[in-house]
Each structure stands twice: as structure tokens, then as C-alpha cells.
């Protein structure tokens, strides 16, 4: 839909409005102004301004036909010295249109679309800095006028951005609904899990008691059987008239020499069953069962504890309006770059995997400070960043992860995750801003804001066209 729209716009503007500009360069500034600053006063400045490169807001300083006073008031010079390609004023104000002054600035009117100031050193250096090419008139380079494309690109970017913001904001509201509904649930969960944990704790205690009882019983059983065995051997010994007095006080060793006695052997065999055979297994199984039950009870207890702690943690976290950031909880996002795989688990940890090695790039520490941003980061969209900075509420656009695995000869790894508006949770980029310090941009609807000033496609175009035609007439 968008593309189609621009297509139309292009065909409309190409032939009339912009075409005229490129043919009549001298008038292009004027028209640029007329288009956007309809004031008559401005247009009068414009047409008098044969002075190249002045910022329109400073135009009045250049109005005297005979003299010019440097803007820092350091001296007054003949008007002919202005833009004579020689620097007279310390502040560079006499040479707005040339490269003569080290401290000067050149104003790119850029047809009023994307006007900006550039340092004088960029005038006539062979590089087109103004999209209109007005900074290059020496003939070193022929600049093509790209203002229209740039402007449309910019608008298009802004529109896309706006669209994402709008869509994302809708999503955010929906998410909020969900998380808000969960608010009650979460609070309940804190209670519930706490109770459950306590219950499990109690049960596991009970189980421990039960186990003790059981073990005692098994021990008693064993002891009892031993007694029976001893008694039988004793009986046999008595019957063989071999006096062994006070057998109970004798050591087990004493049985040894009796092993060869066939009857003793038989008795031993019989009772082996009691100690090593099915009867023993019975007891063992019973014991195992108790242990198993105890262990599952323990796991249960642990799980309940984790659960409990998790909800307690959620309870402690600042999850914003309607608990909306709960949306990022338990929601790990993966990102592959070259041979690294990064994973961000918001509120938990960041990891980096490479060839089966996993490095922890930090544990969640806190919502970060926006002022902490590293200056040498790769800012693709400086303006976007700044806008977002202004719109930022609290610290909810940056998460700090610290205390990761230690680097060789370096610090512990740490990561800053910047949250930007996007339609789904995804990592946009990862950089190592300094040794073992990472920065990631995470796109998520949960930080999308309601666009404040709605950008619209300049319906000006049609008006402009009318005006253009009018001017030409």
C-alpha cells in the first residue's frame, strides 16, 4: 500500500515541481522557501540573498549593502569582502559560502526539505554534502540532486517507524490486557506457591519421619532373623553335644570351623535365603521404595520452592503499567551472527554459544540507566535514539546484565540490552562495545509508544503544485 502511494507521489512531483528546480538553480532556494515558509518577509530575504550559504535566520545581519560586521562584532569590513574566498572574520561569518574560514558554516537550503548546516571545510571539497549539491560549485564534482529521494526516504522511514509504533502500541495494549488479567493470578500465585511450598515442606518432613520408622523396623527384622539363626545353630550344636556355652557372647568367627558340618551347612543354606534371597529382597525393595518416595517428595519441594521464588521475584520486579513487562518473562530470544548464537532471557541472563561452548554474558542486574550509554556505540538512527530517550519513562528501555563469565586478562562479561519498539520479540543487533562488554538491541512491542505527532504524507504536494503553477504564471 505504502509503495503504491509513493509511486503516485513520485510521478506527480517528478515532472513539475522538482524538474523546474533543477533547471533554474538560482530560484530553487526561493521556491523552497515559498513552499514551506509562506511568509512574505522570508521570501524577500531569499531573493535578495545572492549571498551563498547563509543560515536564513541570520540573513538580517547581511542586509547592509555596504558593510558587514562580523557576527562576533570583532570588526566591520566592506560588503565586498563577504564570500570573497578569504577569511576576514575570526568567527568565519564573512565566508558563509566558501571554504575560506576554519570556523565557518555553510547552510544547505536543500530546497527547504532537509536544510542543515555543514562546516565550511566541506564546501568545494569534491564531496556532495548537501543533497541539493549547493556546496559544490567549483566544478570538481557534479552533484546530482537527491533531496527529493532523501526526503521521501526519510518520510517513508518515518512512516514505517510510525506504522510500527502504531501497530506495536496496539499489541502492547493487548499484551497489557493479558498481563493485567494475570495480575491477580500472579499475586495469587505468590500466595499459592508459598502455601504449596510450605505444604510440600511439611510433607517431606513427614516422609522423613516415616522413613525413620521404616528403617527401624527393617533393622529390627534383620536383627530378629539373626537371632533365630543363631538359635538354630545353637540347637544343632547342643544336639551334637558340642558344648558352646554362652554362644551369644561368642564372635561370628567361631562359626567358621563349623562350616564343614553338613547339618550346619544345611541350616546355613536355609537361612541364607532369609539374608540374601527373596526375603532379603523384600526388605530391600521396601527400603528403596521409601527412598524413592522421599526423593520425589524432595524434588516436589524443590520445584515448589523455585516456583515460589519465581513468583516472589516477579513480585519484586518493576513490571510497569499493568505488569506489562511480564510479557518478556520466561521468553528467551535467540540471535545468530556469524558463528555465535546469542540468547537473551530478559530478567534472567544473556548467553553466547560458539562451537558448543557457552559463555554467560551476564545475569540480570537491573533496569539500567539511560545516561550510561557508551558514546562509541553504533548508532544507526541517532535521531530515533534521541526521540526515544525523551519519551523514555523510568528506565524501562535498558536492561543491565552483569557478572558473566570472566574474560582472559579482562573483566567479567556484561551486557546492556536496549529495548526498542518492534512488532515481535527479536534481537536486532549485537556488538562488543569494548572488551567483553556487549550491547544488544531487542525489538519488542512492549516499549512501543503511541505516536504523538502523527506524520502524514505531505498533502502539501498538491498545494505546492498549484503554487508552482501560480508562480510560473
Amino acid at each position: 500500500m505504502l509503495i503504491f502511494f509513493f509511486g503516485t507521489l513520485n510521478s506527480q512531483t517528478d515532472q513539475s515541481f522538482f524538474q523546474i528546480f533543477s533547471d533554474q538553480q538560482m530560484f530553487c532556494f526561493c521556491k523552497g522557501f515559498i513552499l514551506f515558509l509562506t511568509s512574505l518577509i522570508v521570501s524577500s530575504y531569499c531573493c535578495q540573498a545572492a549571498i551563498v550559504g547563509i543560515d536564513p535566520s541570520l540573513a538580517s545581519h547581511y542586509s547592509d549593502p555596504k558593510t558587514f560586521t562580523c557576527l562576533d562584532n570583532s570588526k566591520t569590513i566592506p560588503k565586498s569582502y563577504v564570500n570573497d574566498n578569504y577569511c576576514d572574520c575570526e568567527d568565519g561569518s564573512d565566508e558563509p559560502g566558501t571554504s575560506a574560514c576554519p570556523k565557518g558554516n555553510f547552510y544547505c537550503h536543500n530546497e527547504g526539505l532537509l536544510s542543515k548546516s555543514i562546516p565550511s571545510s566541506r564546501v568545494n571539497d569534491g564531496i556532495c554534502d548537501c543533497c541539493s549539491g549547493e556546496d559544490e560549485v567549483s566544478g570538481k564534482v557534479k552533484c546530482t540532486n537527491t533531496c527529493k529521494e532523501l526526503y521521501l526516504d526519510q518520510i517513508s522511514d518515518q512512516l514505517k517507524e510510525q506504522e510500527i509504533q502504531e501497530e506495536g502500541y496496539k499489541l502492547r495494549l493487548e499484551i497489557r490486557k493479558e498481563t493485567n488479567e494475570k495480575k491477580q493470578y500472579l499475586q495469587e500465585q505468590i500466595e499459592i506457591t508459598k502455601e504449596e511450598y510450605e505444604k510440600a515442606e511439611q510433607e517431606s518432613e513427614k516422609m522423613s519421619e516415616k522413613q525413620q520408622v521404616c528403617e527401624k523396623w527393617i533393622y529390627a527384622q534383620k536383627k530378629n532373623r539373626k537371632k533365630v539363626l543363631k538359635k538354630m545353630i545353637q540347637e544343632r550344636l547342643v544336639s551334637k553335644n558340642m558344648e558352646i556355652a554362652n554362644s551369644e557372647e561368642k564372635n561370628d568367627k567361631d562359626f567358621c570351623f563349623l562350616h564343614k558340618d553338613p547339618k550346619i551347612k544345611k541350616i546355613t543354606k536355609e537361612f541364607k535365603n532369609l539374608f540374601f534371597g527373596a526375603a532379603k529382597k523384600e526388605l530391600e525393595d521396601l527400603k528403596k521404595k521409601i527412598i524413592r518416595e522421599k526423593s520425589s517428595m524432595f524434588t516436589e519441594k524443590r520445584n515448589k520452592k523455585t516456583e515460589k521464588e519465581k513468583f516472589e521475584k516477579i513480585g519484586d520486579l518493576d513490571l510497569g503499567i499493568d505488569n506489562e513487562f511480564y510479557y518478556l518473562f520466561d521468553n528467551c530470544i535467540e540471535y545468530k551472527e556469524n558463528k555465535y548464537t546469542y540468547e537473551v532471557c530478559p530478567f534472567d541472563k544473556v548467553t553466547q554459544k560458539e562451537n558448543g561452548n557457552t559463555y554467560k554474558l551476564g545475569n540480570f542486574k537491573q533496569w539500567g540507566e539511560l545516561t550510561n550509554q557508551e558514546s562509541d556505540s553504533d548508532n544507526d538512527n541517532e535521531n530515533e535514539n534521541e526521540n526515544e530517550k525523551k519519551n523514555a519513562k523510568a528506565n524501562k528501555e535498558q536492561m543491565e546484565f552483569t557478572g558473566g563469565d570472566k574474560c582472559w586478562n579482562g573483566p567479567n562479561r556484561s551486557t546492556t540490552v536496549l529495548l526498542k519498539c518492534g512488532l515481535k520479540n527479536e534481537i536486532k543487533n549485537v556488538q562488543e562495545v569494548s572488551i567483553c562488554k556487549y550491547q544488544m538491541t531487542l525489538l519488542t512491542p512492549i516499549v512501543c509508544e503511541k505516536p504523538k505527532n502523527k506524520i502524514t504524507i505531505p498533502d502539501l504536494t498538491t498545494n505546492q503544485e498549484k503554487k508552482n503553477i501560480h508562480d510560473e504564471l
Partner: protein, 938 residues
Amino acid sequence: MKKIICFFLFLFFLLLCCECADQSKFKLCSQSTFCENNREIRKNGSGPRFSFVPSSAKVDENKNLFQIDLLRSDEVEPRLFVEISSVIPGVVRVKINEKDPDLNRYEVEGVLLTENFNYQNAEIVSQNEELILLRFGSEKEKHADVKLVYGSSWKIEILNSGGEPIMVLNNDSLFNFEMDKKDFLLNKQKEKEKEAEAKNSDNEKEKEEEEEEEKNQEDDQPNYEERFGGNTDSRPYGPSSVALDVIFPDTEHIYGLPEHSTKLSLEDTEEGEPFRLYNVDILEYETESRMSLYGSIPVIISKPNNQKTLHGIFWFNPSDTWIDISTQETQTKKKLFGKNSRVSKRAHWMSETGVIDLFIMTGQEGKMYQVFEMYDTLTGFPYFPPSFSVAYHQCRWSYKTQKEIQNLNEKFDEYDIPVDVFWMDIDHTDGKKYFTFDSRTYPDPKQLSKTVSDKGRKLVAIVDPHIKKENSWELYKEAQSNDYFIKKSDRKTDYEGHCWPGTSKWPDFLNQKVIEWWGSRFSYDKYEGSTSNMHIWNDMNEPAIFNGPEMSIPRDTIHLGEIEHRNIHNSYGFFVTKGTFEGLIKRNQDQNERPFILTRSFFAGSQRYSTIWTGDNMANWDQLKYTESMLLSLGLAGAPLSGEDAGGFLNNPDEELFARWFQTSAFHPFFRSHSHTDTKRREPWVFGDPYTSIIRESVKIRYSLLPFYYTQFYKASTKGKPIMRPLWLVFPEDANALNEEVENFSYMISSSMLVSPISEKNQISKDVYLPKGCWYDFHTLEKINSKGATYKIDAPLEKIPIFYRGGKIVPRKMRVRRSSHLMQNDPITLFVFLDENKKSSGSIFIDDGHSYDFKNSNKYIHQKISFQNNKLFTKTLNSNYDPALIERILIFGLEQTPKNIMDNNNQDLIFNVDESIDMITIKKPNLSIGHDWQILIQ
């Protein structure tokens, strides 16, 4: 990737630990047999005595060479001979070698420019029982006298025109020429012969004994092995060191012997370690240490007391070399007036092997720079690199991705800091295989090259001489199949060692074919991704080997022709740059583009091919301070194109140190910021204001001075004059200037500007010595009329003391742009600083900045500009290039307000006068560099 990095970090960590903890990786004199032995000889006077054999003295048919034999006191037949010649006017060559040509020792070829040799007529002027007087010169002019003194020990004196000795060889009989193994073999042979004679009758026994003897001979072989740090040097040829003492009579200061981070004037070493020249990779080197560093130039420059000249000695030997320096005080009763004692310096040279081959460069009174021209005629004038290399370079280990460099390309503009070159350190390669790019991180290097060149900028890529042992790599296979690698001592298998890529091999640069092959790898079709916009950095070319003895290659490894590495060690890095240089020339079809090469290791002659930097320095104030003397020393030893890692490679500089470092580095011939991968990021904007502004200002000052600097580069390449100069070189008659350098580290740029760096924390003013004359503060343009005194100069964080010298004209370009290329057609501002006689002069060189057209087709402008008698005028030496417009002329120190100023067409020029600083500004005089003109002030 991470794993590899970690591995390297780990290695580095190890290195760091080992090296900062102790310097035990590197030999002390006492751990080096030959150094220890020669020092012993000095202490005990126990060396072998040699004397001339007068009857053998002769001049050859061509009258080029004088020869005389040397006889050892305990022998009958002389086995050594001395050869004396004068290969260019004023340069005396003394060579000592073995007589038996079969025993001739290896002499490295390709360092000396023998094509420049212009043998002077040798003539025996007089000869008696005590001495021979030799004279070298043309018929019209004598250039040098050499006196040979017989005695019980030989002695040679090189005389100046007044007949006074300027250098004396073997005055203290420290000459040594070890031939132990040969002695052993000779004795063995003699014994055998004797025995054979004696037992002639007893034939039966003979056979048995002979066999036995043969066995014995092998067992008897003395063991010459030398162990150090877990490595064993087999030394199959036994001790073969050469040593000699050289006296510099009546000389208090001698200089040179780079590379050492010591004071400029060479200090006595008797109490401690000698100066050592053995190229090694030291990660964290200390200041005030005479340990060897990455490069070696065995040159000493002597400044005789109270004379306005310099002499030099070039000890042409690329093996491990130690030099002890000492001071001698001798009583002289000859002169009734003046001093009755004089101070002399002595250098005791000791090299592991090779021959003695000395070049003594004799300067004439009044000519301070003659010695440099002589030395460069022998070893080559500095190369003339493309103009971008004079500008600012941005480096880091490493910019890991193409995107990172593209980002820098934008950031520098955003912060309005000019830059010309972005550097790609080892990580840009595919697994440290040089001549490749990592396709994941540098997917389109050609595009990158174009992106930066759109702003007139360049790339430099690192290419180290260790070749990864990877059988599937085409380059490795090629070298392997051609047998291009250095061999182990077994002479059969390739030597393997550890470096960045892991197991690696080292090409044998002694083989001319290898040099050509190496060069051929730089062709655009072979070096995929390279462009004409990309230049080369040769690092680790000592060669550096992580697991090798003293972090380098074993000395008993074998080069082509069965040459042991020990013979050529210090010249390995030189040959690497030679191959690179020739390759970069040949990669363009017209062979007309000037290469830029940076090297870490160097030897005499390296100036022909490369710029030098001082290696892995550290971010501390001390290192900043000693950088100046390191660079000055290089300049005095014929290598004026040098610089350091601004900011300090290792550790993190604080913002003050970083800013101060940039302020002085901006005046060094090579100006590059570089940092270790473990350090925090430190691109100029990282520190924020005021530091970023200070850095910006420093870089902009450098850019505004580019026309001046470029001219100095040109002059260095034609005259060999240092660009950075100690004060005493410019003011030889000023006794204070000799000490100035020691205390204050001030230096001159050419003879036109004085820079006095701030190298102490929190320092905000500095006592700066200004030799007699007019000086103009660089920042305020205020004049100081100095009588030769010290002035307290303000040096708040924003500036360091810098002065223009009265009597000099400095051309500048005041329109500083994003890169030097974009300033090429900008107009010039002439700064004319008058001396006390209201005179001034200067010159300017202009060409296309990148080709050899200046040489091949004379396409350049070279113009002299002078001010005299209120007249500013030019003398155009050559003007075969686009003239450069002059937009402004500033004249300082005229002390008069002109009525009018006219050009040669009697046109009045617009001017104004700032009386507060005595400055006349002439606006748009409509003149240009490249045309002759004059203007008159009335």
C-alpha cells in the same frame, strides 16, 4: 573465533606475565658466550694480539684498495688481512677478513648500495718503520687520510684535514677475531700430518690408528652448544665472534645505535649491560634500558667537542651485536692554552659472527648534515611515501569488521576530526592467513576501499611474514612446493614455530626468488580484495616467534646456501620490507605508484622501503617522554620516517595522558594512534570534551602543516636530513643545546620549529630553552628575542610549547578538511618569520602526492622563498606541476608599519597590520607557488 582470540589472549597473558615480571626471556651479556668472552678480554687484556705485516702492504692495480696482512702474535703465517678503501668521497671502509678464501665468512648482500660506490684513488703518501700514511681522493682533492700504526698491536687512525684523528681503531687492542673451531681443525690436521710422517715406517699400525683417530675426531669435537631459556643453540661452527674498539677522540657526545628507549646521548655502559642490537619482539619494554628492541641500526654519530661537524661509523654486521660505551679522559700537554685534559668516547663493538666491515663517515668542519648524506649514499636515501601517509592514521587491534571501519569513516566526520587512513590489524584475515580477508567480517573489502576513498581516505592492511601451516591453503602450498621456507639446523626439514595463526613457517628472504615470490603475492589478482587504495604494514618481522629462543627464530636455522640464521638475523625484517616494497611497486602495471609500508623490525637500509614505528609501547608518561629520544635517534641513524603508537599500545591512558600524547605526536613524522585489543576503546571522541577538542585541534594543526611536512619528507628523501632534530644539530655552536635534549626532550622539526612536549601529569607550564635568536609562539604568535635562555612557557591542557624559528618561512594550508586528499588544491598561507637581521627563507615542494612522476618526468614544483631587504621573493628550482595559489602571506617581526606593499607588477596589495604581535597580513596577493614573483614592502 572467540576461541582463537581467547587462545591468543591467553598467549598474550602468558607473555605479559613473563615479561613484565622479569626480562629473563632475553639474554644478558653474561648469558651470551661471545659477549662475556669479549668483555673478559677487555678486563684482563687477555685477547690475542695482532700486528700488521708491513711487507704485505700494497695498493691494488686499480688503486682502489689498500691491503695489509694481520699476524697473530702466537702464529707464523698471517691468516687475516685488512682492506682499506674509500667507497665514496669522505667515507673510509675498513674490512677485516680471513685470507683463505675457503674460510671466508658470510657477508650479507643487498643492504649496501654498491652501485653508488665511487672508489677514491688510494695512495701511500708516506711509509716508515712506524707507520703508513694512506690518502684517498681524486687528483684535485683529497678526501680522507688514514694512518696505520705498526707497534705490537695494530692501530688505524682516520684523520681530518688538520691531521687530527677523528676515529681510532684498535687503540686499546680489543680487536678479536674468533676462529676456534677452525683453529681446532687446523691443529688436528697438523698433528695428523706429523704423526703420519713419524709412523711412515709402521704401516700395519697406521691403518688401525687412522681408523681409530677418525672415530676419535668425532668424539673429540668440542661441544660449542649454548643453552638459554630452555633452548639449545647447536653452534656447529663454534665461536666466530668479531670485536673491535673505536675511540672518538675529544668527543663528549655520541649518538645512535637505535633502537633503544634510552636518552639520546649514549651513556657509559661499563657498569651495566652493553647496548644490544638483536631484533626481538618485546611486549612491554622498559625505558632507560639498553636491551635490544625490534630493530637495529649499528651506526654511531659522534659530535666532536667544539666543532661544527659530525662523524659517523657504520658497523656493517647484521648478527647479534653488543656495544660497550665508555669515557676516557686523557691529559694533553701539547696545547699551552685551553684545556689540558680532553674527554673521549670509546665504543667496544662485539658481534657474534661475520667479518669486520666498517664505514667511517668523516664530516667536514661547518657541515653538520654531510654525514647523513654519506650514510644514505651507502645504504639508501629514505623512501618518499605518498602524501596521505604524512597525515593522521587511525588504528586499533583490531577493527574487527568492515562495518566498524565504515562507521569510523562516518564518526570522524561527525566529530569533525580529519583522518586519512584506517588500519586493519590481524583479525581482518581469514584465520591469520595474510593476503586474505575473513569473508564473514570483511565480506566486501573492495567496497570498503571505495567507501573510504570517496572521502579521499586509504586503508592499510597488516601482512606478517609468518605463514600458517595449512596444507589446503594455496599460498602455503606454493611456498612449500618451491621450498621457500627457512630450514631447521638439520638442513632438511622446514623450521616450524608458533605465531598468531598457530603453527607457522617463515619464508627465507635471503633467497632472491622468495623476495620476488613474496612481492608477487601483492598483485591485485592474487591478493583478493586488495586495491591500489590499500597499503601494507609488516609486523612481527624480527621475526617474532612465540616459542622460539628470545621470542625469535633459532640461530642455527638454515637459509639458502647453507647460511646460518645467526649471520643475518638483524636484517631479516629489512628483507621482508624489501619484498613488500618491490611487490607494491609491481602490482601496478605502470609501476609508477609510491607504496606506503610500515615496519616494526628494521636494519640499516630499511629507510629505503619503509616507515618505522617504535613497537609495543605502553600508556604511561615515562614512555611518552622517551618516545622523543627514540625517534630522534632513528633520525640520526638515517631513518627519519618514524613514529610511535600515540596514546601507548598497552594499558589504558587516562584522558590527560592521551591528549598530551596527541599534542606531541602530531609533530612526529609518522602520526598514528594504535591500541591493544585488551584496552578500552579510545577513538578521539571517547574521552569527550575538553579532550576530544584538544585531540581535534592537534590533528588539525598537523593537517594545516602538511605542505611544510611534505616538503620535509621530500628533503629527507633527497638529502637524508632528519625531520625531527635534536636542538644541537640545528644549533651546533650552542653548548646549552647539547644538554637541553637530555633534560627537556625538546626537539626541532627541520630547522624551522621547536616543539617541547609536556610529558608529566598535571604540568601546566614548562621551562623551555630557546637558543639565541627570534622565536614566535605557535599559539599566540608573540615574539621572544632569546639570548639563549630558558623561558617559562604556559602549557595548560590545551597546548604544549611550540615555537616557529625566526628566519624561517613555513607554508601551511589553513583550510583543514576531512582528509589530506581533499586539501590538495587548496591555497597556501605563507608564514614568514624574520630573524634579527630581518631575513627569512624556506622552501616548498609540491607534486601529485602519490606517483613517481616527480622523479620520472620531473612533474613537481620546488621553490625557494626568501625575505631580504624588505623584499619577499622566490627562486623556482622546478615548476613542472599545477601552481598552488597563495591566499595569504603573514610576515612577523618586521618592526615597521609599511606604507604600501607592491607586487612585481607594481600592483598595490591589500594588507593590514596587527601591531600587538608585529604581524603584517597580505590578503589574496594573487601569487602562486610555481611562478616566480617578488613583493616589496615600503
